[in-house]
């Protein structure tokens, strides 16, 4: 669960899309929804798999598929940029690999890093004053609607 906490922190940083995508790819590949158990499950898998990286203690997570990451993030990269990114992203993934090595079997899983929940809002309507400037800032706003390319299929 510490992994999750770190994820939440890291995700706040500008590069978060790459980092989160690759790490969560592991989670999302376990297709069944099974509460918190899959966290432990994935940790077990990685603990038994051995793998080596030259600059870190050990990395048991697969290397990033940067071109696929770029595709899912809808960011175009040149081959040179892909190579450059690959090294950087891989380093971050390796840090996660280290985290996953930690034995947390005796630690109660936490859903999130923050301790207090709450921060709920009353169900009372408030009109945002400056809607005109929101609409004005949309380049393709026409006749009350946002005009967009016609895409019928979601992904």
């Amino acid at each position: 669960m510490a992994t999750r906490a770190l994820l939440a922190v890291i995700s706040a940083s500008p590069n978060r899309r790459f980092i989160s995508s690759s790490s969560i790819r592991i989670q999302s590949s376990l297709s069944s929804f099974s509460r918190l158990n899959f966290q432990r499950h994935s940790r077990k898998i990685h603990r038994t798999a051995g793998s080596y990286s030259s600059d870190k203690e050990s990395s048991v997570l697969p290397p990033p598929d940067v071109s696929r990451l770029a595709e899912t993030a809808r960011i175009s990269l040149t081959p040179g940029e892909i190579e450059e990114c690959e090294t950087k992203i891989r380093r971050v993934i390796d840090w996660f690999g280290q985290l996953q090595q930690v034995d947390v079997n005796s630690v109660e899983p936490a859903i999130r890093a923050d301790m207090d929940g709450g921060n709920l809002r009353d169900d009372s309507p408030e009109t945002f004053e400056n809607r005109d400037s929101i609409r004005a800032s949309i380049p393709s706003f026409e006749e009350a609607y946002l005009k967009v390319p016609k895409i019928l299929n979601k992904e």
Binding site: S28, D114, P125, Y145, L146, K154
Partner: protein
């Protein structure tokens, strides 16, 4: 067609009743909230023969298929919540507003804006979870479901992935009698909170679409069922029950035509006896409960045919759309592989924490749910037909409960509501709450007929007056002098008079035409302005007619 879905009393197939004066016969009433395809014998008599034959033919074919194959059906339901504001910002949650007016930086996904959860959404989530007999997660969280689409401003939808607010529940329901009746229990896998996307209008002619973001950020509860349904009928009734529960709880108006209740069906078939599930197909674009049923029937036939032809491998995991015009499912463009939503915990929102006290207080405030009502009505001695009708619409059930609460006899109250009152509401296109006849007056009317103050026929007349203009039973009886005549002496006087004025008919009667008794009775009734007690009238009349002069 969409009007058949509105859950007001008038839309429960009352066209079958014909005129309101016909006493309600038990088989006529379809109690499915959407029943547009009933096959009662009464309907068969009223519809032209050409419409009956194809339907029977189709259902026979389906029965044949279901002897060899088992359909496994699961349903995902999205319920749009009737909160005043959106899920994560204070914009108004209003259906039908002018496009792109209920917007702000949060729901538009503008940089720097942060979501803040609406407390009502949690409350509705707990209510629905409890109503579906789920276990609540006292701690749950939000996740980002990431994909790109023009109506999704942030590029991700805030949803709940692995720790939903409720899970592991079930729903009990009754299959309508015209589809065989019977009790069913279907499992509920999970209920979770999420936000809706905007609305896209695709132009047929041009190469662009138009997006309205009023709906972006509106709160939804997604209900995922276990794959427990086995037929179109069961699936449609499950969806009806979801609508019923949502309306009973007051968490949503559950209008499919408005989009506040959306159902997607997942269906596969397998040869009977096979343990593994077949390939699952998703069906979208279902705008009515009846469409769900028909789409499922079609899909079962389509898949069974492929199996029969040895082409089972042509059934692929895909999303198909229901084409209402052509009455068949069609492939959407096939997706390459499963979507990768890159779920991760929503960093901008804290955990959702429920205390046991909070949950208990909500549980205590739940209204009587449809299932409990149905069982209670059954225990009161009402037949299933009546039970399903009365419990279908929460306003009708409340009205009925109020009337019997004021002392009216259960069966009589049920008959009036399901018969003349329902027909009136249908004609006038009113809901029972808009009716001028109050529960108090109906209770009094029933009591007045029961204790003999007025006759049943007079009662009906009073009913129509009260429905149209309001007023009180007592007032009307007094005003129109409608009290039933039960004094035998008075009736005897009238009988003697009528008999003496109709000597010819008397002779005909005495020479064998006993049916003329009805004629005499009619004359006495006319003379008494309908107030003579029919039982007494006929008794005395018979005596006089059969007496030797």
């Amino acid at each position: 067609m969409s009007t058949t879905l509105l859950r007001t009393i008038q839309l429960n197939q009352f066209s079958l009743l014909g005129t309101a004066l016909i006493r309600r016969r038990s088989n006529n009433v379809s109690v499915r909230c959407c029943g547009s395809q009933t096959a009662t014998t009464h309907e068969a008599k009223q519809t032209p023969p050409s419409r009956v034959a194809p339907k029977n033919h189709k259902s026979n074919k389906l029965d044949e298929i279901l002897r060899d194959y088992e359909a496994v059906i699961g349903i995902e339901t999205h319920v749009q919540l009737s909160t005043l504001t959106k899920a994560f910002c204070s914009c108004s949650n209003n259906y039908g507003s002018y496009p792109n007016t209920s917007i702000c930086p949060v729901c538009m996904g503008l940089p720097g804006a942060l979501p803040v959860l609406n407390s009502k959404v949690v409350e509705f989530g707990v209510r629905l979870g409890l109503a579906l007999n789920c276990e609540l997660s006292l701690k749950s969280k939000f996740d980002r479901k990431q994909y790109f689409y023009p109506d999704l401003p942030k590029g991700y939808q805030i949803s709940q992935f692995d720790i939903p607010i409720a899970s592991g529940g079930y729903v009990d329901l009754d299959i309508p009698l015209e589809f065989g009746g019977g009790h069913r229990r279907f499992g509920i896998t999970r209920v979770h909170m999420e936000e809706d996307a905007g609305k896209s209008l695709h132009s047929d002619t041009e190469d662009y679409s138009q997006v309205d973001l009023n709906r972006a950020g509106v709160p939804l509860l997604e209900i995922v069922s276990e794959p427990d349904m086995r037929s179109g009928v069961e699936a449609a009734e499950y969806a009806c029950e979801m609508q019923r529960i949502a309306r009973y709880l007051g968490v949503s108006n559950g209008n499919m035509q408005e989009g506040s209740l959306r159902c997607d069906v997942n269906i596969s078939i397998r040869p009977i006896g096979q343990a593994e599930f077949g390939t699952k197909v998703e069906i979208k674009n279902l705008n009515a409960f009846s469409a769900m049923s028909r789409a499922i029937d079609f899909e079962i036939s389509r898949q069974a045919l492929l199996y029969d032809q040895g082409k089972a491998d042509q059934i692929v995991t895909e999303t198909r759309l229901w084409d209402e015009g052509a009455q068949k499912t069609v492939t959407m463009r096939k997706k390459e592989g499963l979507a990768d939503y890159r779920y991760f915990p929503e960093p901008d929102l804290p955990e959702v924490i429920l205390t046991q006290e909070y949950v208990d207080s909500i549980r205590a405030s739940l209204p009587e749910l449809p299932e409990a009502k149905r069982r209670r009505y059954e225990a009161m001695g009402l037949g299933m037909q009546d039970v399903l009708f009365l419990a279908n619409d929460v306003s009708v059930a409340e009205y009925f409960d109020a009337v019997i609460g004021k002392g009216a006899e259960v069966k009589l109250a049920a008959n009036w509501i399901m018969g003349d009152i329902a027909a009136y509401l249908k004609n006038e296109k009113l809901s029972i709450n808009d009716m001028k006849l109050t529960t108090q007056e109906l209770a009094e009317l029933i009591a007045a007929i029961k204790d003999g103050t007025i006759s049943g026929k007079i009662g009906k007349e009073i009913l129509f007056e009260l429905l149209a203009k309001g007023g009180t039973v007592k007032g009307m009886i007094k005003e129109k002098d409608l009290v039933q005549i039960t004094d035998p002496a008075e009736i005897e006087k009238m009988v003697i008079k009528v008999v003496s004025e109709n000597q010819k008919q008397l002779e005909q009667y005495r020479s064998g035409k006993t049916k003329l008794q009805g004629y005499f009775a009619g004359q006495v009734m006319k003379m008494s302005k309908g107030k003579a007690n029919p039982g007494l009238l006929n008794k005395i009349l018979l005596e006089k007619l059969n007496a030797k002069d």
